[in-house]
Structures are given as C-alpha cells and as structure tokens.
Amino acid sequence: MTPELQEAGAAQLAAAQARLQEASSGGRDAAFGRVLHGAQPDFAHGVALYLDEITVSFDGFKALNALSLAINVGELRCIIGPNGAGKTTMMDVITGKTRPDHGTASFGSNIDLLRLRENDIAQIGIGRKFQKPTVYEQLSVFENLELALKADRRVRASIFSRLTGTQLDRIAEILQLIHLLPEAQRTAGLLSHGQKQWLEIGMLLMQDPKLLLLDEPVAGMTDEETERTAELFLSLEGQHSLVVVEHDMKFVGELTQGWKKVTVLHEGSVLAEGTLADVQSNEKVVEVYLGR
C-alpha cells in the first residue's frame, strides 16, 4: 500500500464514518460479497475491515451474537471485554479460521472474507498474532522470520528464491527490535514464553500486512516491554490498520492516547464504544469487566 493511497484513505475517513453509522443502524450495504481472487482490497472508502451481524454459535452457545464492527484504514482500534466475550472468536472469523453462521465480513469495500481461505486472507494483507504464541518450533528464529518475509508465496518461487541484501537487513532490523538478535540461530521451540510472543510479533511485522490483528500481544511482558510495544504499535498506526485485544488497561491507555476509540465486547456483541475514559466510566462495563 502506497502512502498516496494512505492519504486518500485518510481523507475519506470522515465520510466513511458517517456511512458506517448508517450501516450499523440497519441497512446492509450491497457492495460486498464479490470474490476477486488475488485482488487488492479497495480502501477508497476508508474502511479497512467491516463486520456486519456476525453470529457464531457452538452447540447453541452464541460466542458472537450479531456483532457489527468497522475498522478504518490506518486506524488503531483497541478491543476489550470480559473473558469469553468473543474477541478471539471474532479474529477467528476475520482470518477464516471459523465460519460464522450468519453475517458478512469484508476487507476493504470489495473483498468478501467469508469466501476466502485462510492463506488467501493472509495474502491480501491480514496478519494475526494468536493469543497462544505459535511459531515454527523446529526452525531457527531467523528462519521463522524469513518465512514470514513478504514475498511471492507460490511453490515455484519458493524453490528458486534467494534472500537479497535488503531482505537480510530487514530481518536483522526486526531481530533487533524484538530483542532476539543473539538468539537468531536458536531453535524457536526453545524460547521462553515471552520470547515466543516477541517472535510472533516479529513475524507479523515481516509479513507487513495491511491489517494486523493482535490478540493479547503484551501478555507475559514486563511493564517496560509493554511500553515499548505500545510505541511500536503507535509507529505502525496510519500505515497499517491495527486491531488490538488486551486486558492491560495501562497498555490500552497508552495506545489510545486518550482520544482513540475503544470497543467493549460482551457476550458476543458490542457493549460500549468510545474513548477509554468513556467506557471506563460506563457502569455496565465496570460491572462485567473492570470490576470495582
């Protein structure tokens, strides 16, 4: 995604938000649902991700209940909510891991996520960090990053590919960023829990996706690292869209910088939306989530 496009997207932000209000207040937008294989998402309307009335149930239990949500291009959105509210399930739906019973999910204004397979979704630019860190245990830290590197994902290309100097530099840069430079040649499976978390974030950065989904990225990090992570995410904001799920209110506070929107999920749908301060003072949110 080029900076120009970014700007175009940002320029349309306001208009898009207005439209979103309409969408969430009832009518379905008819522009979604076309499969364009390998196509680029169309961000011209300023919306990066749009979920509408998504319902997921497991044996009758509704993990997501008519959830609607829109993330703008370049936006950093924090999502909080009690354990079991459906945050992870929502990410599962976006990345194609779980198919919803009802609803639509689209990327940009043109790509119907529900019709794509996981790898296609990743290819068009949605990257994810799992709640439980998942890395390639038997490969080295370096190789983990190398595989995540943005490049042609096809078989033939992979057989003949060679790492270029710039790519090596990029890997080194990320290694430095995630504090794993000394561990570069170690087998990833031997890392500690927190190191794996970092490695997974590093892999996500290598992938350079348009939309990053981060499920509890700072769980198990020290306060200082949490701060650094916040800085890192803030530096990505604008160029990328981010959805961050966290229970660490301090971290959320740092990310939202007092004005950004926070969404509270509860029992599979949106309970409240607004600035952190807004939601923190919401009685219901305090009751089900924050506690007294």
Partner: protein, 399 residues
C-alpha cells in the same frame, strides 16, 4: 530505528548446495557406483576376494531402489510431517509399469507360446485388455512409470489435502488406498497376473536381461538415479520451499495465516515423492525379476517408513543409510540366523527408537553434541567455581 539498519547479520550457512565434505562424498559415491562396482563384478575374477558376486550386485541394486523410496519418504514424512502408508503402492505401480513392458518383451517365449502373457492364457482371455494398450512401447511404459504414480498421487493428494486430512487420518487413508489396490491386484480378473504378478522376464529392449552386463547397466543406472535424487532433494530442502515444508510440519495453521497455501506445497512434495517411488519400482523389477501385489501390503509401506526412521528422519543421508542398514541386516540375519533373525530385527528397531531417537545418523550428531556439551559444562563450571557461593554450598553439602 535507523541505527539498526547498519547492523549486519551473518547470512545463514546455506545457499551452496554442498559443503566440501559433501562434494567429496558425492564424487566418491559416483566413482564407487559407476567404476568400482562394475570393475569388481565384471573384471575381477570370481575366485578373488575382491570379486563382487552377482548376488551382491543384485542385493545392492535392490537396496538402492529401496533407498530411493526411503529418500522419497523422508521428503514427505521427515520434512513435511506427513506419514504416508501408500508409498509401497507408488513403488509397485512403477514396478508394474515396467513389468508390463517386460512381460510383453517375453513375446512367444512363454509357456504357451502365445501372444498374450501366460496368465491371460489360463484365464481364457483372447485379447489384451485396454490397460495393456501400449505396453510394448518402452517409451510409453517409462512415461507410465512416473505418470501413473504421479497422477494417482496428485488426484488423491488434491482431495485429501483440500479436505484438510491430517496426521493419522491421512496415514490411514493412504493405507486404505494401498490395501484396496492390493486386493484389486490380487484378483486375477484385474488383469495384472493376480497374486503371482509378473515374473520370468527374458529381455529388456531386446537385450537378454539375465546377462551380467545388462545387470551391471541396471545397477549403475540405479546408483546414478539414487545419487541424482539425493542431490535434488538436497537442493529442495535447502531452498525456501524446504523450509515452508518444515514449517507446515511444525505449525500448519501458522503457515496458512502467513499466506502460504499448504495445499500447493504438500501436493507438490507428495506428488514428487510418489514419482520417485515409481522410478524406484521400475528399477527394482528388472533387477529382482518379479513384481507382485505383495509390494502393496501394509507392511511394505510401513517398512519404508522404518528405513527412514532407523537412518534418521529429516536428514537426507539418514534414509539411505537406514535402507542399507536394515536391508543389509535383514539379508545377513535371514542367512546367519534363519530361525532367530526376527528377534534381531525386532530388537534392532526397539533399540534404535530407545537409544537413537534421531536414528543412526543422529547418533553421530548426538555424540558430537555430547562432547561439546560436556566441554561447555566443564568450562562454565570452572568459571563459576569460587565465584558462585551457592554452588560451593551445594558442593559442601554433598561432601
């Protein structure tokens, strides 16, 4: 972050196909196969201690075919984590394709002096069934050697991988496929000689097959194919392709969420692996002189996996070593202890799993690592002596 870009990372030690030792080994292997073995078999007189008997040539030739299978198995199992119990089938299909050609080469020299292979005569068949259409064409059958296993693997793999069949479920359906094929081939009506399969071959490309020089040519060819496949496999696993395979083995979902399509990768390696087995089968049949559905039994496929595991999975040389070791041991044991050899073989498998979790090849690495670990330990202990009061306390406590 700007200062980070100045930081240089040593590029990982690959890219070059082989190290120095690797090239020497490769050359040595080539010389042994193409020069030494023919010399010892054909030129050195029979009485000499250096003479390589026909039996030994046939045995080594056969084991080299097995080694190709083990190598193929390693690509799919060792590197991609997919245990196939269908490689016996691919091997057999390659073998049958070659066998059909060899049957046709018998011509009128069979028992019944018929145009048709003997087994069709006792089935009262009057014409060749459709499956035998171009079986007298060497070229066509050689295409079949790779195409039949390849296409079968492609179709089977496509559906199985698309349905996300994994782990044992995949192993079991490959076994079901193989087992079904075995039953099918066991039937005489199927038209491939039933339980007897094909045997009593006379000629290949018009040249008598039993002739020592023919055998030697087949032997050398097998050796070259094995070495060639090894080099190819080596290249593949060292490429990014190979690392994607290993990533699929470790965390397939992650691979998917990174944007790779595991289906394409699995299908590619699976089909390649099947075709390698087909070639192995085709080389096996003229050297061993018989192909029958026994090769499709569950045990045969499991044995291929056993060779790879004994030698060491995910190390390309391991499966080859394993194939030679297990089959060599089997040949020796069935001769030396005809009544007890199964005890030895069984004990061997148990011992390898218990004591050599990384196979025979892993043993070397294991020993090397142990040496370096204990050296390191000694070092760090020495460094801590005195510096670390806790250690001292502990040592005192022990004394």
């Amino acid at each position: 972050m700007s200062e980070m870009t100045t930081l240089k990372l040593p590029p990982p030690k690959r890219g070059l196909l082989l190290g120095k030792a690797g090239w020497t080994g490769l050359m040595l292997a080539l010389i042994v196969v193409t020069v030494l073995a023919p010399l010892l078999n054909l030129v050195v007189p029979e009485g000499s201690v250096f003479h390589l008997s026909d039996y030994a040539v046939a045995l080594i030739g056969k084991i080299m075919c097995y080694a190709i299978c083990a190598l193929a198995m390693d690509l799919i199992w060792g590197y991609t984590g997919i245990l196939s119990l269908g490689h016996g089938l691919f091997f057999a299909l390659g073998g049958y394709a070659m066998g059909m050609y060899l049957m046709r080469q018998i011509g009128h020299d069979g028992n019944y002096k018929s145009d048709l292979p003997d087994f069709m005569v006792f089935l009262d068949w009057k014409a060749l069934p459709w499956a035998w259409a171009w079986s007298d064409s060497f070229i066509f059958q050689m295409i079949c050697v790779v195409a039949v296993p390849g296409v079968l693997a492609l179709i089977f793999g496509f559906f199985a991988f698309r349905s996300r069949i994994k782990g044992v479920y995949f192993s079991i359906i490959t076994q079901a496929m193989t087992f079904a094929a075995m039953l099918l081939f066991f039937r005489n009506e199927t038209g491939f000689g039933g339980n007897n399969g094909f045997t009593d071959f006379k000629r290949i490309l018009g040249i008598p097959i039993a002739q020592p020089s023919t055998r030697m040519v087949l032997f050398v060819l097998t050796g070259l194919v094995l070495i060639g496949f090894w080099v190819m496999a080596r290249y593949l696993v060292n490429s990014k392709f190979g690392r994607v395979l290993q990533a699929i083995r470790d965390a397939e979902t992650r691979v998917m969420f990174t944007g790779y399509d595991p289906l394409a990768y699995k299908l590619a390696i699976w089909t390649l692996s099947a075709m390698m087995c087909g070639v192995a089968g085709a080389l096996y049949v003229p050297q061993v002189g018989i192909i029958n559905p026994g090769e499709m039994s569950a045990a045969s496929s499991i044995e291929i996996a056993v060779w790879a595991a004994v030698g060491g999975r995910a190390t390309l040389i391991g499966p080859i070593v394993g194939a030679f070791f297990v089959n060599g041991a089997k040949s020796a044991f069935t001769q030396i202890f005809p009544e007890f050899w199964l005890y030895f073989l069984g004990a061997l498998f148990i011992a390898v799993t218990l004591f050599l979790p990384n196979g025979l090849v892993g043993l070397v690495a294991q020993l090397r690592e142990r040496a370096s670990t204990s050296a390191k330990l000694k070092q760090s202990r020495a460094a801590e002596q005195g510096a670390d009061p806790a250690t001292e306390i502990a040592q005192e406590a022990r004394a």
